[in-house]
Symmetry: C2
């Protein structure tokens, strides 16, 4: 089964990559296997002139791989731009969810990132959007998150696309969110519920667990 | 069916990449679809610090793709180094032949590149080698080619690994090799043979075709 694809779109310079830099570690810390696709409409240079991989490509190799004990890279020429589905089918079929940056013309579900400083108008129609991430209130009736609310967007993606039980629990220490793997998360939920069920007054404040209200 | 894999090995700085830079266009000009794998034992940096793909990887994405209308690249972390067969099976299964640079410990057929200035001793035992490319004579009884003889090595690869009819013909204009696609090559062979069969004295010099002797 192909993993779901969610596109993070927005006008240029609104901070799409910046938001993904917050969202990615949030999802990874939950044990979710991620693929990320960056759309580049201008063409890009990946390797650096003079390096061996660059020389081999310049010599005319259509597909060049570089492989090391820790990393792997494949660079190829394409005759026609690959679609999101082709990329995911060929190269990312074994991840849990794919986040794409760009691809605003695709029909995949989208999260729009916006900043008031740049523009308060959205690119997408409300019906295309699963959420808006912005520093201003939005009128369409879809979930809205602040530019720093990676945990909120991660919760939404899990609920909507990953068929996992929603995160009902978060752990804060000194006011900072501590990411929890699904296993630990579920164990904690069970433990707290067990505790509370044994108490006449269900008061969990002293364990410093904050139960996030379900949206 | 998986494409054949041939490893180009040699001591460091003998000119493996330099030779591949000559061989790749020779093979491509013959209509052969190539995959190239560069082995990097030290780890490599592919994208550049600060670029979006780099930021997305730094954020923890295990697999990042960048896609444009002309090019495509995939960068991934691996838990264990991928074998040549894994790389070819997953990413290069649709090419005609794969040239690997490095992988001297693999059991794949090998071409050793050597330069007298660096060392006259070979890395590989004669039985591992399909050819030696060097600027000095070698004793093992395997085909030997000069450091500039990309056409000779391409002929050998075609004969040994591509089940195509060997190139018996090359076209030179003003002393320079003109690459020929297989279709044209075969047409020319047919035409020359036809011509020669009709002539009492089989003398083709005036058509400026040079028939390379089969090895």
């Amino acid at each position: 089964m192909k993993p779901p694809i969610v596109c993070f779109v927005g006008k240029s310079k609104v901070g799409k990559t910046t938001f993904l830099e917050k969202l990615i570690p949030e999802l990874v810390s939950r044990g979710i296997r991620l693929g990320v696709i960056k759309h580049d409409v201008h063409g890009f240079e990946m390797d650096q002139p003079g390096k061996d991989t660059w020389r081999l490509r310049q010599a005319g190799a259509g597909r060049v791989v570089i492989s090391s004990p820790l990393r792997f890279a494949l660079i190829g020429l394409v005759e026609e731009e690959l679609s999101l589905d082709e990329i995911v089918g060929r190269y990312l079929s074994d991840v849990d969810i794919v986040l794409a940056e760009g691809y605003k013309r695709s029909v995949k579900p989208k999260v729009e990132v916006a900043r008031a400083e740049r523009s308060c108008e959205l690119l997408c129609a409300p019906e295309e959007l699963v959420a808006v991430v912005s520093d201003f209130e939005v009128s369409p009736p879809c979930p809205h998150f602040g530019l720093d609310d990676a945990a909120g967007v991660a919760n939404l993606l899990e609920e909507r696309f990953l068929n996992t039980s929603p995160r009902e629990l978060s752990l804060r220490v000194d006011g900072r969110d501590i990411p929890l793997k699904p296993f630990i998360h579920d164990m904690l939920i069970g433990a707290v519920r067990g505790l509370l069920s044994g108490l006449k007054e269900a008061n969990g404040e002293q364990v410093e667990l904050y139960i996030r209200s379900r949206r």
